[in-house]
Amino acid sequence: MRKKAVAAPTVRAEMAGPVRMVEATVFASIRPIIRKEFRQIRRDPRTLVFLLALPGFLLLMFGYALNFDFKHIPLAVCDQDGTQASRDFLARLGTTEYFDILYRLDDPRLVDGLFGRDQAKVAVVVPRGFADDLSSGSGAPIQVLLDGTNSTSAGTAVGYIAAIVQSASLRMTTQVLEGRGFRGLSVPVAAEVRVWYNPELRSALFLIPGLMAFVLMIIVVVSTSFSVVREKERGTMEQILVSPVRPLALIVGKTVPYALISLLSAHLALGLGYLLFRVPIRGSYPLLLLAMGLFLLGGLGQGILISTVTRTQQVAFMIAILTTLLPTFILSGFVFPIRNMPGIIQAFSFFVPARYFLSALRGIMIKGVGIGAFWEQILFLAAFAGLTITVSAVRLRRSSGVEGEGRKRR
């Protein structure tokens, strides 16, 4: 057995460490953490591809799938009148880009079969006596049949038809009246509708900013919570926490790389939005950057916060998805207008950062307004980011980040 002198050990070792490290600042240790994080990301190209390509991919998918513009709707017509007037009327439907007249039927009962086989979505029947009714001025009814399976598209189609019928009948009325000797007629009330910001009512303009918020939030929260929980799973977190590194330095070091990557990701999404869907950036770019930066910071904080209450990547993933996917999809005004929600749901939406980001984003990109219009949103995003990051730093310091690490894992 080995015996060792206890007296007069070299004190050198015990002194050397502390003295040299006293001047360690909080931020001196951030750099090695950032460098390490980038190295690990680089070693794992799948993650990088995921972070960079996913937003673009989802943008494409959703951008095309969530297209609420309906054009070239298959239309069936049935002209029972067979007069010049009825032919003129139906021809007007066919000249718009909204409808393609695919079927001309002799019998309106055939419509049922066409709808059933999905060969037509809308049918217009002009009954016998259309021209006579028109010239007698007694009002000429037409029949519009719709496939209501998809209520949104049916609603849009009704709108289009109504508009076309409206303008056609106005013109015809004038013609008929003029034919009877009236001159210089004008319609007493004419509504002139002008749509601002998005005159063609392209849904892409409305959807793309929301999609960006949605995708960025998910990748940011998932990737940061993963990167922290992975360290807990592997035990490296304990090794860092036993060093003099401060929790704040650890958090900053771990988030900076993901913040930069997700910012890059956001720009890819912006670029794709512009190239594919012609979504412009009408307002100021620095403001856009500010909004994105704050929004991403909040997401990073949320990711770290999730990782302080979880121990495995699976659980972290579940919580991350649950706390980002549903709120940003449903409560942010991305697809469903918040205005139309029941009061209690609206109240929930006040705590969803994506809601604020989204209105700032739409403000900057589509309306091109200045900070005056959405400073409150910016303020909220800043508050959310500050809150999540502070809380996670406190939780990490209290070493709850390692509580339970002592349990067996072999």
Binding site: K4, V6, E14, I33, R35, Q40, E238, V242, G406, R410
Partner: protein, 314 residues
């Protein structure tokens, strides 16, 4: 400064209603190899984690390198190195990247780091493998690298939590050579283990059982104070039956099974041998061999646990 590197006073940790560490007190002398010996779940890791500032004690205090673990955990962290029970380096970084990372985290100046990097590679026998991914190293190498990273910043106190779990005997030997070298350089080494042969290499030992310290001293002192009776190693048939049988004899102090043999504590050696042979023959149990043995730490350990459980009325 006192001559103790670590002073622990009535340190406790409770998890809910469960007491993992129950008012333990001990001192660790500077430069010692201090062994913390206990079965699974005894509370070894929990104690170490409190001393390293990773876990807040429920009650009690401890001074590590002269710093209170509650009041100045940051100062404690600068004075210690720690190697956790699990292998905890970045598997997706290379050997050198791991070393540089921990050097950076401890805020080491570049020239210091460069010389320590060489030292660690040398020590762990990893020269030439600087650029291997850590995940591709064998377990023994990983452990030596983890040790190197833990002492990179030249801490005066080193905490090792079951450092040799899962490595082969040759690697274990090599690892203990490193521990001895560090100790010779004046580093205080606090090591937990449940390998009793490793405990033999410690200067000072605490036996911990169910969160309480049940034995203290150097290995030889522990043996001398615990085992006063001669111990006979008995090789016979039907060991379990023989053990039950011998337990009831008044001249037998204690019996336990060691592998395929029995260890029987008797009052006196010659008398004990004679009676043992007679009793086994009477029961028709074949006796192959009786030897007087020097008690091992294992004997000490089992005896202490038994006594402690008896005391606690279990």
């Amino acid at each position: 400064m006192t001559s103790s590197s670590i002073e622990v006073r009535a340190l406790s940790k409770r998890f809910g209603a469960f007491t993992a560490v129950d008012a333990v007190s001990f001192d660790v002398r500077r430069g010692d190899i201090f062994g913390f010996l206990g079965a699974n779940g005894a509370g070894k890791s929990t104690t170490i984690r409190m001393l390293c500032g990773l876990l807040e004690p429920t009650s009690g205090t401890a001074l590590v390198a002269g710093h209170d673990i509650r009041r100045s955990p940051e100062k404690v962290k600068r004075s210690i190195g720690y190697m956790s029970q699990k292998f905890s380096l970045y598997e997706d970084l290379t050997v050198e990247e791991n070393i540089r990372f921990f050097g950076g985290v401890y805020n080491m100046a570049a020239p210091d780091l460069a010389s320590r990097l060489r030292w660690v590679l040398e020590m762990a026998g990893l020269r030439g493998r600087e650029h291997s991914l850590t995940r591709n190293l064998s377990q023994g190498w990983k452990q030596r690298l983890a040790l190197g990273c833990a002492v990179l910043h030249e801490p005066g106190i080193l905490f090792l939590d079951e450092p040799t779990g899962g490595v082969d005997p040759v690697s274990r030997r090599a690892f203990w050579d490193l521990i001895n070298r560090l100790s010779e350089d004046g580093v205080t080494v606090f090591v937990t283990t449940h390998y009793l042969d490793e405990a033999e290499s410690c200067n000072d030992i605490r036996l911990i059982h169910a969160g309480r310290i049940v034995g203290a001293g150097s290995p030889s002192a522990l043996k001398a104070s615990t085992i006063r009776n001669p111990i006979l190693e008995v090789e016979c048939g039907r060991t379990v039956e023989a053990m039950d049988l011998l337990r009831r004899e008044p001249w037998v102090r204690d019996v336990s099974i060691f592998g395929v043999n029995l260890h029987v504590g008797v009052v006196e050696e010659a008398e004990g041998r004679r009676r043992l042979a007679a009793r086994l023959e009477q029961a028709g149990i074949p006796l192959r061999r009786i030897d007087r043995i020097v008690p091992s730490l294992e004997d000490v350990f089992l005896r202490r646990i038994e006594d402690s459980d008896k005391e606690a009325g279990r």
